[in-house]
């Protein structure tokens, strides 16, 4: 039994989210994962961008950083290398992460920076009241796409796998136990962990029922080290698989890479040392 309770991670600020928003489940799951891992709140830093889900840090009793739109990953990266002892978590939404901030994911993956990135994907811009996002299905009609959106949606799992992300998972706010278990695994991963949470926006795009119907757990015999198998299942859109698609602990994380490099650095000789060498 954990010595800590999920309520210890509560800040006392009431979430601004609409009743029923999928993000509540993510907040609860993260608190529960922190408690189960017994991480003291002050040793955790949570970085976010802009959007409904990015209000996240205010609702946690940890160090929190609600930054500008699209930059939670470099912000979190700076925090992690600034103090590697911290447990750093980056959070945000699909607009923040895949549109304005989309350029940062491949580089977090290349670095294998030791932090989980939880994207609450509701397939819509919720805070600005329902414009199409990078994961909105094509043809979706809203005020800003009155004739139906013309772009195809991204497949975030395929994208993360293609970038070489060492931990890739999909969870659903409607499956809170599984969600907490996945977040816990992401927190334990010694590298960059990408978690797409299907987190419905009840106000502008309520997909709870839809996801209940089309999601199912990855097959029991699924091998998390088999990249091609992961890609095959990630491509499926009629059925959306939930679970950990990839878990590869063979690559060093960024902080470890820095430590290894430092151990090998030989300072360049100063002028005096060079003169000394030739003096003999």
């Amino acid at each position: 039994m954990s010595k800590r309770k999920a309520s210890e991670y509560q800040s006392g600020v009431k979430p601004i989210w609409c009743p029923g928003c999928g993000d509540y489940a993510v907040l609860n799951a993260l608190r529960q994962a922190f408690a189960e891992l017994e991480i003291p709140p002050h040793e955790i830093a949570v970085a976010s961008g802009i959007g409904c889900s990015s209000r996240f840090p205010a609702f946690l009793n940890t160090y929190g950083f609600h930054g500008v739109h699209g930059r939670p990953l470099p912000l979190a990266t700076g925090m992690k290398v600034g103090n590697p002892a911290l447990t750093v978590v980056a959070v945000g939404g699909d607009g923040d992460g895949f549109s304005i901030g989309g350029g940062h994911i491949p580089h977090a993956a290349r670095r294998n920076i030791e932090l989980p990135y939880i994207v609450m994907d509701n397939n819509i811009y919720g805070m600005t009241k329902g414009q199409p996002s990078p994961t909105t299905p094509r043809g979706t009609q809203r005020k800003a796409s009155p004739y139906g959106s013309l772009e195809d949606p991204l497949n975030p799992i395929m994208m993360a796998l293609a970038y070489g992300t060492t931990f890739v998972a999909r969870a659903f706010s409607g499956q809170p136990k599984e969600l907490a278990a996945i977040i816990k695994a992401a927190l334990l991963h010694p590298g960059f962990a990408f978690v797409q949470v299907l987190s419905p926006c009840v106000t502008f795009r309520n997909t709870y029922q839809h996801y209940r119907e089309i999601t199912q757990p990855l097959p029991e015999d699924f091998d998390r080290t088999d990249l091609m198998a992961a890609m095959r299942l990630a491509q499926e859109t009629e059925t959306l698989y939930r679970g950990i698609f990839r878990q590869d602990e063979s690559k060093l994380g960024y902080v470890q890479r820095v430590r290894e490099m430092r151990a090998q650095v030989k300072p360049l000789a100063g002028v005096d040392e060079v003169v000394e060498q030739y003096a003999r």
Binding site: E8, S11, G12, V13, P41, H42, E43, A45, A47, P57, A58, N61, T62, Y63, G64, F65, H66, G67, V68, G70, R71, L73, P74, L75, A76, T77, G78, M79, K80, V81, G82, N83, A85, L86, G103, H104, P106, H107, V258, M261, R262, V265, P267, L268, G270, V271, D272
Partner: protein
């Protein structure tokens, strides 16, 4: 490691290298940057040197990531820096505003080149002066220093970190390609002689769960600067670019907003004496005063010295800090001076500031960028002003 960080001794060094060494001597242990001419050598030197002293150098994916990462590192307690040029500074503006709003200490080095747009990547300019001051949206204040030699970029980079930490404000080193690529003698003092101003830390232990929350944005009355608690130090801190109260939580009201923004500006004004740096030559009896900064100040000094030798009553005011603008000093000079000349490698950005402060004619010697303004051109302007 300390001795590796401060390369005490006499060196022959470029301005970009001296800037990097100044950062290391000041205790900078994180650099996040993106390659851009003519600032790349700052990054390259730090890429080699930071791992030697236990620091981290990261080449980020773009300038937006660079500045976001240094803000993260600052919140985690590190002295952190980025270096760029005009186009990169444009990309950093949103996060620069965030640094102001969150009062996160950090240093941004801008080795200016000919602008606007891609402009003259390999040639000098001084036209980011107003971008540095007003480039992000909203009312705010920043600090910017303009070195005129490799030695001074070393010294001012240290000052930049000290001012950033002491007053919780982003500080810019607004240098230029001439100084960045010029190689001159740089003397690095012993480590114990490097000035070090501390960040103010919290004065009470972290509150227990049942106690009122820690007020991470409660400013001290004397200097208007709130102490800073870093991630991992035990305090619950909430940073948000939204208008926030003293606890750090969003408080979206006109009253809170007006109070916060006014304090952020007043904080710099209140402490201006410790931030502003200028240097005056022959000012006592000067009828005409030349004002200049950065690389152009080198030409200006020569022009003024030669004019003095010819018996012309001209003085020279070198702006070392551009922001905050040394308004009081220039207003005082205007009591006795008949005319001002502003020499700068842009089309009149600082001339506007001087005009704002003085009821005297202000003559500009300008060039849009790419080549140094010669002493002869400034000499000519002095001649015209005197014989007017």
């Amino acid at each position: 490691m300390k001795e590796r960080a401060v390369l005490t001794g006499k060196h022959f060094m470029s301005g970009d290298d001296a800037c990097a060494e100044g950062a290391l001597a000041a205790g900078c242990r994180y650099f996040g940057g993106y390659p851009i001419t003519p600032s790349t050598e700052v990054a390259e030197r730090l890429a080699r040197r930071l791992p030697e002293v236990g620091g981290v150098y990261m080449q980020m994916e773009d300038e937006l990531g660079s500045i976001a990462s240094i803000l993260g590192a600052a919140a985690a307690g590190a002295r952190s820096m980025t270096a760029t040029s005009g186009p990169g500074l444009s990309l950093m503006q949103e996060n620069l505003g965030l640094a102001v709003m969150l009062e996160l200490p950090c240093v941004l080095v801008d080795i200016q080149r000919g602008s606007p747009s891609t402009g003259l990547p390999t040639m000098a300019g001084q036209s980011d002066v107003m971008q540095a001051r007003w480039g992000s949206h909203g009312d705010y204040s920043v600090v910017a220093y303009a070195p005129w030699s490799p030695q001074e970029i070393f010294d001012l980079t240290i000052l930049a970190f000290n001012v950033a930490d002491r007053f919780r404000v982003p500080v810019l080193i607004l240098s230029d390609e001439v100084i960045g690529h010029m190689v001159e003698r740089v003397v690095i003092p012993p480590a114990e002689q490097i000035p070090h101003w501390e960040r103010k830390g919290p004065r009470q232990p972290p509150p227990a769960l049942d106690e009122p929350p820690y007020r991470s944005f409660q400013a001290d009355e004397d200097d208007l600067v709130p102490p800073i608690a870093h991630a991992g130090e035990g305090y619950r801190v909430h940073f948000t670019g939204l208008t926030h109260n003293e606890i750090g939580y969003p408080e979206i009201t006109p009253e809170t907003h007006d109070k916060l923004v006014r304090r952020l500006i007043a904080k710099i004004q209140r402490n201006a004496d410790q931030i502003i740096r200028t240097e005056g030559y022959y000012l006592e009896d000067a009828e005409v005063v030349v004002i200049s900064y950065g690389c152009t100040a080198r030409s200006a000094r020569r022009a003024v010295r030669e004019a003095r030798e010819a018996g012309i009553p001209v003085g020279f005011l070198r702006l070392i800090s551009l922001w905050p603008f040394p308004e009081t000093q220039i207003k005082d000079l205007a009591c006795t001076v008949k005319e001002f000349i502003v020499a700068e490698m842009n089309l009149g950005q600082m001339r506007l500031e001087v005009e704002r402060c003085v009821q005297r004619p202000v003559r500009g010697v300008h060039h849009a960028g790419g080549e140094l303004i010669t002493p002869e051109r400034i000499r000519g302007a002095i001649q015209e002003a005197i014989s007017r």
